[in-house]
Symmetry: C2
Subunit: 159 residues, 2 copies
Amino acid sequence: MDQLSERYLEDFVVGQTFGSGRLRIDGERAVAFAAEFDPQPFHLDEAAARRSIFGGMTASGWHTAAVTMRLLIETEFKPAGGIIGAGFDECRWIRPVRPGDELRVECELIEVRPSKSRPKQGMVKLRITTINQNDDPVLVQVANLVVPRQVTIAETTGP
Amino acid sequence: MDQLSERYLEDFVVGQTFGSGRLRIDGERAVAFAAEFDPQPFHLDEAAARRSIFGGMTASGWHTAAVTMRLLIETEFKPAGGIIGAGFDECRWIRPVRPGDELRVECELIEVRPSKSRPKQGMVKLRITTINQNDDPVLVQVANLVVPRQVTIAETTGP
């Protein structure tokens, strides 16, 4: 990891945006992911997929979410200590993701605040939109992430 | 899938609970999952993990979420047509998941309602708590799931 590009709470401002490159959803990988974590017939079998609400093969929503994490890591959003999620306020799968789709993420900081209880930490809210090759959103999340604060030597007297 | 056990919106009631068996988090699988979807040093390397906020190796939160889906599918919560997530109102990773942890889920229906716009569909809210072998919650989610309504023959005149 490039230490120089790591950022602290003080470096983040509401309205900052971050984007990723693209990652293609491979059909065989999507089936293998579903077989391990989401083994429902419509994720595993063409005929069952056609009969389902999706009308054809789709990646598990959890596969899309995991790929979104991978894409987020590749953006310039690089808090010191890594991307540490406390959770999500919201998460919506908007459209199915099909084999061969190419996904990317667009992110925007919508809140930046110090922690009330932990002086060396802050929290940011990041709206993460996962977008397909037609520029249609497929997944929208609002993530709560833990970000370290820049602490001076005088403050670092604890263990 | 056991067709007889499939349920429609009319079969679900607020307060119903569903539980799963246990699934062990394998350390090598956790590293492989992280290498593919969450390749941050603290998920890949023992020394980096010890220096991190987690103090040791942990599974990616997305691995925990994916395993939670797998466990949910194994419960008696079986809507006709499968478990179709529209999204989440809330998702919080409460505790780290360590290699060797044994996870299970406990679920409770907290809302059941017909769709306003789609007469053949309803929505349920399911609180899903993922719990480790010490009975401590590690992940809490409130999922919005699409569930079909039982339609009479008179209503099924469409294609």
